[in-house]
């Protein structure tokens, strides 16, 4: 049945009924186009928000010291809380579900960073070896800090990609000595970070070494750990932390400003629900659009058959079999929906590409995209539905009795 003749017959029919063909095709193309745009926009929104969470581990809990706001145990309010190595040990001992834990020590005053005659200004982070997991740091050369670096107070450094670029240009950095305020540290690794350029201008030092070298004693400025706990369990952990720190640092457990806890897991969980909501919303609208397209196609095919009753009657009188009538109507409907669906798909994806290329990635929207499998299956669905939409009118057309069709004026 798929010989050239059928296509020529189809072509002549379509060519002579341009408006009808256009309207049918347009409703299909529009349906697919809107679906693609919606899916893309939804994905863009999700990408944007997800990106913000990529910088740090999603299951981490961060502790920041504050100033007491209530007088407690004979001490006035306004006292600064200072974490120490003891707090680090206590968390390890008494808090459940701790996976990776690290502290951070801030060096006071500016640090002069040099390699040979090259120098630059970079941030220094003095951390434990587990910080790699918490920050989602990706090592691209050498290694990260390890337990031995910390226990042996080694003077080693892991530098960001941009630090390497500025200090070492194209040279190899591994094994080279950089000087921090004149003190020599050996570069053991280079890293990347998805947190952006600023993150890659960091230098990581072992916290134990830094405390010694930069007069830190046993001071720690921030504590952070990842947890295997569920969202509900992290709530309990938060309470336990608060109680423990209040006791050890002698502040009122009700004091909101003495200790700040940031629970990434809880935040992320809320955002997950938001994603789900967006997805459901997009699909409801998308399916609605597709249904509208299908109804459009079947409507137009119905009108087509009505309009062509006489023509179909003539065709039957001169020898068209019912099958050939069904085939003709169906082929027309499939060809129109396929071509139009493809057109809608391509223009939708094209528009998304243009938006994605020209739109500055913002915090809430980046890289609108559709997975090709979703797009293709949506189009396939519409084509199948379009053929079904054409099938019943075609069946009706095949049942037209020639005399009745010819009688119709």
């Amino acid at each position: 049945m798929f010989n050239l003749d059928n296509w020529q017959e189809l072509y002549s029919t379509i060519k002579k009924n341009k408006l009808r063909t256009f309207l049918t095709g347009f409703s299909v193309a529009w349906g697919i186009f809107m679906l693609i745009i919606l899916l893309g926009a939804g994905q863009g929104l999700e990408n944007g928000i997800r990106y913000q969470f990529e910088d740090d581990a999603k299951n981490s809990i961060w502790l920041f010291p504050g100033e007491t706001s209530k007088s407690f145990d004979g001490m006035k309010s306004g006292r600064r809380i200072q974490f120490t190595n003891l707090d680090f040990d206590r968390i390890l001992q008494s808090i459940s579900h701790v996976e990776n834990i690290s502290g951070r020590f801030f060096i006071s005053g500016a640090v002069n960073i040099m390699y040979g005659s090259e120098y630059g200004s970079f941030n220094i982070r003095c951390v434990h070896e587990d910080y790699k997991v918490i920050e989602n740091t990706k090592i691209i050369e050498g290694r990260y800090l390890n337990g031995k670096d910390l226990s042996e107070y080694r003077k080693v450094a892991v530098i960001g990609k941009l630090v390497k670029k500025e200090l070492f240009k194209d040279q190899n950095a591994l094994g080279k000595i950089i000087k921090l305020n004149g003190i020599a540290f050996k570069v053991v690794g280079v890293f990347e970070d998805s947190g952006g350029d600023e993150e890659m201008r960091n230098i990581y030092l072992p916290i134990s070494t830094a405390q010694r070298v930069f007069n830190g004693a046993n001071k720690i400025n921030q504590l952070m750990f990842t947890t295997t706990a569920s969202v509900e369990e992290t709530k309990k952990i938060e309470t336990n932390l608060k109680k423990m720190f209040a006791q050890n640092h002698r502040f009122d457990p009700e004091d909101e400003k003495a200790l700040y806890i940031r629970n990434m897991l809880e935040n992320f969980n809320q955002v997950q629900n938001l994603f789900l909501g967006i997805k459901v919303f997009v699909w409801i609208i998308g399916i609605g659009t597709i249904i509208a397209g299908i109804v459009g196609v079947s409507n137009i095919m119905m009108i087509t058959v009505k309009e062509r009753t006489r023509e179909l009657g003539v065709r039957k009188a001169i020898g068209a079999t019912p099958f050939s009538i069904i085939f003709m109507i169906l082929l027309e409907s499939i060809v129109i929906t396929t071509v139009a669906g493809y057109f809608g798909l391509v223009s939708g994806v094209g528009l998304l590409e243009i938006i994605s290329m020209n739109l500055e990635a913002s915090d809430f929207f980046r890289n609108p995209e559709v997975s090709i499998s979703v797009a293709v299956s949506a189009t396939t669905l519409l084509i199948i539905a379009g053929s079904l939409a054409g099938f019943f009118p075609a069946l009706k057309a095949a049942r037209i009795r020639p005399i009745e069709a010819l009688r119709e004026e």
Binding site: D5, R315, G319, T321
Partner: protein
């Protein structure tokens, strides 16, 4: 060629049954040129529809070219229509978005003749009805007489056994009607069986035999001028 034995046909609309054909016996031989006449309601269109396998009958036998036409499904009926019959209608029934040549070639499309060959044949038949120059015109650009000639060419292209024409001159003026009848006469002279349904006497007079219907029965079969009258 055609043999009708005691054909009955009724139409049921709601509770009323309309007995349109009440036992038609008719024989038409190969090469005959017959007109079927009768007032409106006499059953002449119904008879033509049955002859054209466009409608089925209730009782009796219809034998076309030696084959019994009974209980045909749509596909079979379509096949016989395509192979054995050529239709000409009062309102021409050309396909409006196809040009003259394509209209003429259409029956061959359903015989799976390839495009080149059927268009060539269509040109040949258009030439026979004097419309070669009009091959690429749409029906809307033609006069009634021209449209009817295109329709005649279309009915002839499959080289059918019988041409069935339903009031072929009903929508034409007398001069054009005469031209169309001349074409039918030519076709008949070449051996084609032609059956024309008409209510115009001067049209019927130009055929060789007139079958008069009255109230669903054959009232008389007469030979026209050229032949001696023989009453049934």
């Amino acid at each position: 060629m055609i043999e009708l034995k005691n054909i009955h046909k009724s139409y049921v609309t709601g509770n009323t049954e309309l007995h349109v054909l009440k036992g038609i016996d008719l024989e038409i031989k190969s090469g005959e040129f017959v007109s079927i006449m009768g007032s409106s309601g006499s059953g002449k269109s119904t008879l033509l529809n049955i002859l054209g396998i466009l409608d089925n009958y209730d009782h009796g036998e219809y034998i076309l070219d030696g084959k019994l036409m009974a209980n045909l499904n749509e596909t079979k009926a379509a096949y016989y229509r395509n192979q054995m019959l050529g239709f000409v209608f009062q309102s021409f029934n050309l396909i409006s978005f196809k040009n003259a040549m394509e209209n003429v070639a259409l029956p061959l499309y359903y015989q799976k003749v390839n495009r080149k060959k059927r268009n060539l044949m269509a040109m040949e038949y258009l030439d026979k009805v004097g419309l070669r120059e009009w091959a690429h015109h749409l029906p809307s650009e033609m006069s009634g007489g021209q449209k009817q000639r295109v329709a005649i060419a279309r009915s002839l292209i499959t080289n059918p056994k019988i041409i069935l024409a339903d009031e072929p001159t009903g929508a034409l003026d007398s001069v054009t009607s005469s031209e169309v009848m001349t074409i039918f006469e030519d076709i008949n002279r070449q051996g084609m069986t032609v059956i024309i349904v008409t209510h115009e006497h001067d049209i019927a007079e130009r055929t060789k035999k007139i079958v008069r219907l009255h109230d669903g029965n054959i009232k008389e079969i007469v030979s026209t001028r050229q032949h001696k009258l023989n009453y049934v």
